[in-house]
C-alpha cells in the first residue's frame, strides 16, 4: 500500500530532465537523487517527501537508456510513478531496479498536483482522497509480476 502526495507532470518527461547528463559522472543513488527532476522542476527536490507519488502523462521516461533515472527517482523517496504510458527502456529499468510503476490513463488525466492518493499496488486500485475518485491501473503481464515479486531482475535470475 502506498499513501502519498502527488507531484504531477505532463507528457514525454524525458530522462534528461529526470536526471541531467551532467550528473552522470557518478552512479551513487544519494548523489543522483539530489538532482532529480532539476531541469523540469527545480523545487521538486525540496518538496518531495518519503512515500510521495509522481503522476505523469504519456511516454514517461523517454530518451536515454540511463538507469540512473529510476535510481534517482527512488533515491528521492518517491514510492510510485503512475503514468498514462511509459517509454520502454524506462519501463524495464524501473521493474529491474525495484521502482514501482503503474500504467493508468484515467489517473494520469484526472489526478491533480498535490492530490493525496492511496494505492494498492497489488490490486492496482488507486483512490484519490481529495476528489473521492477511484481508478484502476492496467495489470502487469504475469512474467513482469514474477520479476517484481522476486525483487528485481537479478534476484529473479538467481532464483531460477
Amino acid at each position: 500500500m502506498v499513501f502519498g502526495n502527488v507531484h504531477k507532470y505532463g507528457d514525454n518527461v524525458d530522462t534528461d530532465v529526470i536526471i541531467p547528463a551532467r550528473y552522470l559522472n557518478v552512479s551513487d543513488k544519494k548523489e543522483l537523487s539530489k538532482h532529480c527532476m532539476e531541469d523540469i522542476d527545480s523545487a521538486f527536490i525540496k518538496r518531495v517527501k518519503e512515500g510521495d507519488i509522481i503522476v505523469a502523462g504519456k511516454n514517461f521516461g523517454c530518451g536515454s537508456s540511463r538507469e540512473h533515472a529510476p535510481i534517482a527517482i527512488s533515491g528521492t523517496g518517491i514510492a510510485l510513478v503512475i503514468a498514462e504510458s511509459f517509454a520502454r527502456i524506462f519501463y524495464r529499468n524501473a521493474i529491474n531496479t525495484g521502482l514501482a510503476i503503474m500504467e493508468c490513463p484515467e489517473a494520469a488525466e484526472k489526478v491533480q498536483d498535490g492530490d493525496m492518493l492511496i494505492v494498492d499496488t497489488e490490486s492496482g486500485i488507486i483512490e484519490n482522497t481529495v476528489s473521492g475518485e477511484t481508478y484502476r491501473a492496467n495489470p502487469f503481464p504475469d512474467f513482469i509480476t514474477e520479476i517484481i515479486n522476486s525483487g528485481g531482475l537479478i534476484n529473479y535470475i538467481k532464483n531460477k
Binding site: D16, V17, L24, N25, S27, P70, R88
Partner: protein, 415 residues
C-alpha cells in the same frame, strides 16, 4: 512475420513469433559505455556473478565523458578498465581506439545482419541499418545478459515505412528521419519496430541508413531495421563481418500500420526545441531569423565520413559567422583519419571551425561544447530536450550536416 520477428523467431528457435509474445534469445553483443558500464559492473559484482558469458561478446566503449572531462569521469573509466582486465574483456575501446560507439561497432565489423545486440545506450538501435536486431536497455538488463548470454524480449509489432523516390541533393538521411518523426511523433512507434522497406531505400547510402535507424528510438521504437540488400552485403564485407540473414519479404498484413514516404517530397528539416518531432522545413525556419551561438556537427547520428564530406562541401572557402562557434566531431578514429587524408580538416579549420577528437561530449551536455543560458545551437545530434546540451535556458535545433554547415556560415537557424 516482420523483419524483426524473423530474426527473433530464428534466434529463439521457433518457426514463428507474434507481437506481444515473450521470448528469450541469445545475445551476440552486449554493449555499454563509460556512463552505463559502471552501473552494470556494480550490479554484476553486487549480484556475486563470477564470470562473463563470453569475453569476446562484451563491448565497452569509453566515449561519453572522454577524453576524461573530470576526476569522477576518469574514475568511471578506470572502473570499466579494471573490470575488463579482470574478466579478459577483449573489446574495450578507449583513447585513440575509441570512437562514438554506434559509429565504431559496425565500422570494425562487430555487428552483422541477423545479430542480436543489446546496449546500455538508447541509440543502440543504430545497427538496424545492417539488418540486425539491436535495442537499448538499462544497465541491469545488460549486467544480466553479461552473465547469462541471453535476454528476454517482448516481440514487437511493427510499423512499415515504405520509402519511394529519390532524395534531393541537399537532403540526407537526417531529413528523412526528422520528417518521419514529424509525421508520427515521439511516441508514434512506442514499443514497436520501425521497418524501412521499399524501392527508395536503394538510394539511401549506408550512412543515411545508420542515421535513420539511429533515431528510431526518438519515435519511441524498440528498434529500427532496414531490409538486407546489396549495399548491406557490400558494407558488411568491407567491415569484415561474415554474418548474413535471409529475410522473407514481409506482407503489409504483418504490420500494424504502413507509413509512406516519397523521398522527392522531403525537404531539409529542422527540429525546434524541445522535441525531435517538432519539425519545420529549413526554409520555414530561416524566415524566423533566429540567431545562433554554436553549431555541432558530429555524434552517433551524423559523425560519419559522408556527413563530414557534406559539411566540408558547404564550408569550403567560406567562413564561420562571427560570434558562432562551430565544432566538428569525427565519430571514429577512422573517420578522423579519412578527414585528414581527404583534406577535410583543413577546410574546416580554414573556415574557422574547430575539430574535436571523437566523443559524445556536447550532444548530452557533457563537455566539449556545453551551452550557457540563452544560447542556441544547431546540431546534427539526436535530441533537443530541455537542457540537453547545457543550461535549461539554452536551445538545440536538430538538423542535417548540410543544414548545420549552412547555419555555421549564415549564423541563423535554417537555409
Amino acid at each position: 512475420m516482420t523483419l524483426t520477428q524473423q530474426i527473433l523467431a530464428k534466434k529463439a528457435g521457433k518457426d514463428k513469433v507474434s507481437g506481444g509474445e515473450l521470448v528469450t534469445v541469445p545475445v551476440d553483443i552486449c554493449l555499454a559505455n563509460d556512463i552505463t558500464a559502471p552501473v552494470s559492473i556494480n550490479v554484476f559484482e553486487k549480484a556475486g556473478f563470477d564470470e562473463v558469458y563470453d569475453k569476446e561478446k562484451i563491448v565497452f566503449v569509453l566515449d561519453h565523458f572522454t577524453p576524461n572531462k573530470d576526476i569522477k569521469s576518469a574514475e568511471q573509466c578506470r572502473r570499466v578498465r579494471e573490470f575488463s582486465k579482470k574478466h579478459g574483456i577483449v573489446n574495450l575501446f578507449e583513447g585513440g581506439k575509441a570512437g562514438i560507439e554506434h559509429a565504431l561497432l559496425p565500422e570494425i565489423g562487430l555487428v552483422g545482419a541477423g545479430d542480436i545486440v543489446i546496449g546500455a545506450d538508447s541509440h543502440t538501435c543504430t545497427y538496424g541499418a545492417v539488418s540486425s536486431f539491436s535495442t537499448g536497455m538499462g544497465s541491469t538488463d545488460l549486467a544480466a545478459a553479461m552473465k547469462q548470454g541471453e535476454t528476454w524480449l517482448r516481440v514487437p509489432d511493427a510499423i512499415k515505412v515504405e520509402i519511394t523516390g529519390e532524395m534531393r541533393e541537399s537532403v540526407s538521411g537526417k531529413d528523412v528521419i526528422l520528417y518521419l518523426l514529424g509525421m508520427i511523433g515521439v511516441d508514434g512507434a512506442r514499443y514497436m519496430s520501425l521497418e524501412f522497406c521499399g524501392e527508395g531505400i536503394k538510394s539511401l547510402s549506408m550512412d543515411d541508413r545508420f542515421t535513420i535507424a539511429n533515431m528510431a528510438v526518438e519515435a519511441g521504437a524498440k528498434n529500427g531495421i532496414f531490409i538486407f540488400d546489396e549495399l548491406t552485403e557490400e558494407y558488411l564485407k568491407e567491415s569484415g563481418n561474415s554474418h548474413r540473414f535471409e529475410f522473407a519479404e514481409p506482407d503489409d498484413a504483418d504490420y500494424k500500420s504502413v507509413v509512406k514516404i516519397d523521398l522527392a517530397e522531403v525537404k531539409e528539416q529542422i527540429a525546434f526545441p524541445n522535441l525531435p518531432s517538432n519539425v519545420f522545413t529549413a526554409e520555414e525556419a530561416a524566415e524566423k531569423e533566429i540567431k545562433i551561438d554554436q553549431v555541432v556537427i558530429g555524434s552517433c547520428t551524423n559523425g560519419r565520413i559522408s556527413d563530414l564530406r557534406i559539411a566540408a562541401s558547404v564550408m569550403k572557402g567560406k567562413t564561420v559567422k562571427d560570434g558562432v562557434r562551430c565544432i566538428i566531431i569525427p565519430a571514429t578514429p577512422k573517420v578522423y583519419s579519412q578527414c585528414i587524408e581527404e583534406g577535410l580538416l583543413k577546410i574546416f579549420t580554414d573556415a574557422g571551425a574547430l575539430v574535436s577528437p571523437p566523443t559524445c561530449g556536447p550532444c548530452l551536455g557533457g563537455h566539449m561544447g556545453v551551452l550557457a543560458k540563452g544560447e542556441r545551437a544547431v546540431a546534427t545530434t539526436n535530441r533537443n530536450f530541455v537542457g540537453r546540451m547545457g543550461d535549461t535556458g539554452s536551445e538545440v535545433y536538430l538538423a542535417s550536416p548540410y543544414t548545420a554547415a549552412k547555419a555555421a556560415i549564415s549564423g541563423i537557424v535554417g537555409v
